[in-house]
Amino acid sequence: MNDLSPTAFLISSSIKVFLVFSATLGVVAIMTLIERRVAAFIQDRLGPNRVGPLGILQPAADGLKNILKEETFPSTADRRFFLLAPALAIIPAAMTFAVIPFAAPLETPWGTVSMIVADIPIGILYVLALASLGVYGIFLAGWASNNKYAFLGGLRASSQMVSYEVALGLSLIPVLMLAGNVTLTEFVWQQQQLGFWYVLPLSLAFILFVIASFAETNRLPFDLPEAESELVTGYHTEYSSMKFSMFMIAEFSHILTASALMATLFLGGWSIPFWSGDHMFWHEGMLISGFTPQGEPIAAAPALWKTLLTFLAFAAKTGFFVLVFMWVRWTLPRFRYDQVMHLGWKVMLPVGLAYIMVLAATILVLDQLAVEGFLFGAVLTAVSALATGIFVFVVDRDRLISGSERAEPTRSGVREVQSARVAVLAGGVEE
C-alpha cells in the first residue's frame, strides 16, 4: 500500500505510533478542560481559567494531583482484577485510533507516507472488535470492587454496551454497502469520488450511529453505568488516584475515537469539501487522485501543505463532534434504564434492519439502471431523507419517553387513588 522501503516503513510507522499515541493523550487532557469549560459556559459560569492562560495548564495540575493522591484498595476487592480493570479499560480505547486516517499522505524524501498508523484492510472490524473489548474493563472494575453500586454499574454497562453494539453494527452496514469495503481509507476515498459526504445519502444511518456512539461511550443521556445520583459513581466508585484517572482517560479517548469515526465515516474524514486537490488513494501500489474516463489512474500530487490542510479539516470535523458530545451531555437528563433497553432493542434494532433493507433495495435498483455519480448520490439522499422523516415522525409521538402505553391504566389508577387522598386531606384541613 505504499512505496517506502522496509526500513523507512518501520521508522515512519514507529514515529506515527508515537505521535498518534501522544497526541491522543494530549488531546484527551485538553478535552477534560474543554468539557469543564463548556459545562461552565452552558451554566453561565466561566469554568477553570486560573492555571495558565485560559486555564490551559489545568489538566496538568489535575494529573499531578491525581498522581499524588492515595491509592485505595477495598479490603474485600479481588486485588488482581481490581488492578487489571483500569488497564483493560484504557488499552482498547488507546488502540482504536490506529486505524483512523487523519490526513492526506505526506510526501517525504524517502517516499510517500500514509497518515494513518495501520492501514489494515479490515479497519472497521478492528474498530468494532476493540469497541466490544472496552466493556470488559468496566465490567471487571464493577465486579472486582465487590461493592454493590460498582457491581450494578458494571452490570448496566455490560448490558447497555452489548445492546448498543448491535445498533452500532447495523448502522455501519449501510456505509459498508455504499463503500463496498471495510477499510477506513477507502471510505474517505469513496466519499471524495461520490462528491457526497455519507451523512447525506445515509442520514438515518448517521443518526443511529450517533445515538449508538453515545451509548457505547457511556455519555449522557446514556451514562447509566456511572449514574452518580443512584450509584455513587457506578463502576469506578472504589477507585482512587491514577486508577480513577485511567477510567476518565479511557472515557475521553472513547469520545475522541467515536468523534473521529463519525467524521471519517460520515463527513468525509480528512477530505476538504468542494476541492479535488486532496483526492488521494493507494491504488495498486500507486497514489492516485482519480481515473480518466478510459479508466486510467491519474497520479496524485501529495504535498506537505496538503497534508497539513487536510489534517486541519479532520481536526475541525472531529472537534465538532467532540463539542456535540459535551453539548448533549449538558442538555439532556439521564434515561431510565428500561428506556435505554427499549430504545436499543425496540427502536434502534428494527429501524436499523429496515433501513438496511430499504437502502440495499435502492442501491440494487440504481445499479440495475446503471445510475452513477451525482444522480446516484442524490437519489440515495432523497430516499434516506424520506426514511429519516418517517423515523422522526414515528419516534416523535411519545413512543419513547413514557415507555409502553400498556402501563397507562396502572398509572391512571395510581393517579385516581392519589387525587382521592388529596381530596380527603384537603377536606380534613378545611373542617
Binding site: F41, V392, R397, D398, E405
Partner: protein, 166 residues
C-alpha cells in the same frame, strides 16, 4: 402526604414530543454557551458588588480627637441576641461615660445589625465588608482599638419610614 401535593398530569400519548423537546433544549443550552453574560465574578481582581445594606464585621465611629463615640450606655450588649458584645463602662473626671473594655466576638455574632439600630449615639456599626480571614481564632475577638481602626463603609440600615430605600 401533605395536603398540597402538586399532581402533574402526564400528557396523553400523541401529545408529547421527545425529539422536538430535545432540540429545544439543545437550542437553549447553545444560547447560554455562546452568551457573553456570565455570572462569575473574577474575585480578587474584580470585587463583588455588595448591597449598601450588607451587614458585615463591625466598626466603631470615633470623634475628631480620636476618642470612641461610644458612651457605654449598655444597650448593644443588652439587645445582642448572640450575646457577643462585652462592654465595661467607665466615667472620666468630667462625668463623660466611655468604654473601658469593648469587645465583639465576630464568631458568635450573627450580623443582625441590632447593635447599630439600638445605638443612641451612632457609635457601633455593622459594615459593608467581608474579607475577614485570619490565621488564628483569637484574632476574631475584635477589641476597641481594632473596631476603631476599621475603615470600611458602614451599613445603611433599613428605615421603616422609607421601606423601599427611595
Amino acid at each position: 402526604m401533605p395536603a398540597t401535593v402538586k399532581v402533574l398530569r402526564r400528557p396523553a400519548p400523541g401529545q408529547t414530543s421527545y425529539i422536538r423537546a430535545t432540540l429545544k433544549g439543545m437550542a437553549l443550552t447553545f444560547r447560554h454557551l455562546v452568551s457573553p453574560d456570565k455570572v462569575t465574578v473574577q474575585y480578587p481582581e474584580e470585587q463583588p458588588d455588595l448591597s449598601p445594606r450588607w451587614r458585615g464585621t463591625h466598626r466603631m465611629e470615633v470623634h475628631a480627637d480620636g476618642r470612641p463615640k461610644c458612651v457605654a450606655c449598655g444597650l448593644c450588649p443588652t439587645i445582642c441576641p448572640a450575646n457577643c458584645i462585652r462592654l465595661v463602662g467607665g466615667e472620666d473626671d468630667e462625668g463623660n461615660r466611655y468604654p473601658i473594655v469593648y469587645e465583639i466576638d465576630e464568631f458568635r455574632c450573627i450580623f443582625c445589625g441590632m447593635c447599630q439600630e439600638v445605638c443612641p449615639v451612632e457609635a457601633i456599626h455593622v459594615g459593608v465588608h467581608f474579607e475577614n480571614a485570619e490565621y488564628t481564632r483569637d484574632r476574631f475577638v475584635y477589641d476597641l482599638d481594632r473596631l476603631m481602626e476599621q475603615d470600611h463603609p458602614t451599613t445603611l440600615l433599613w428605615d421603616p419610614s422609607d421601606p423601599l430605600s427611595e
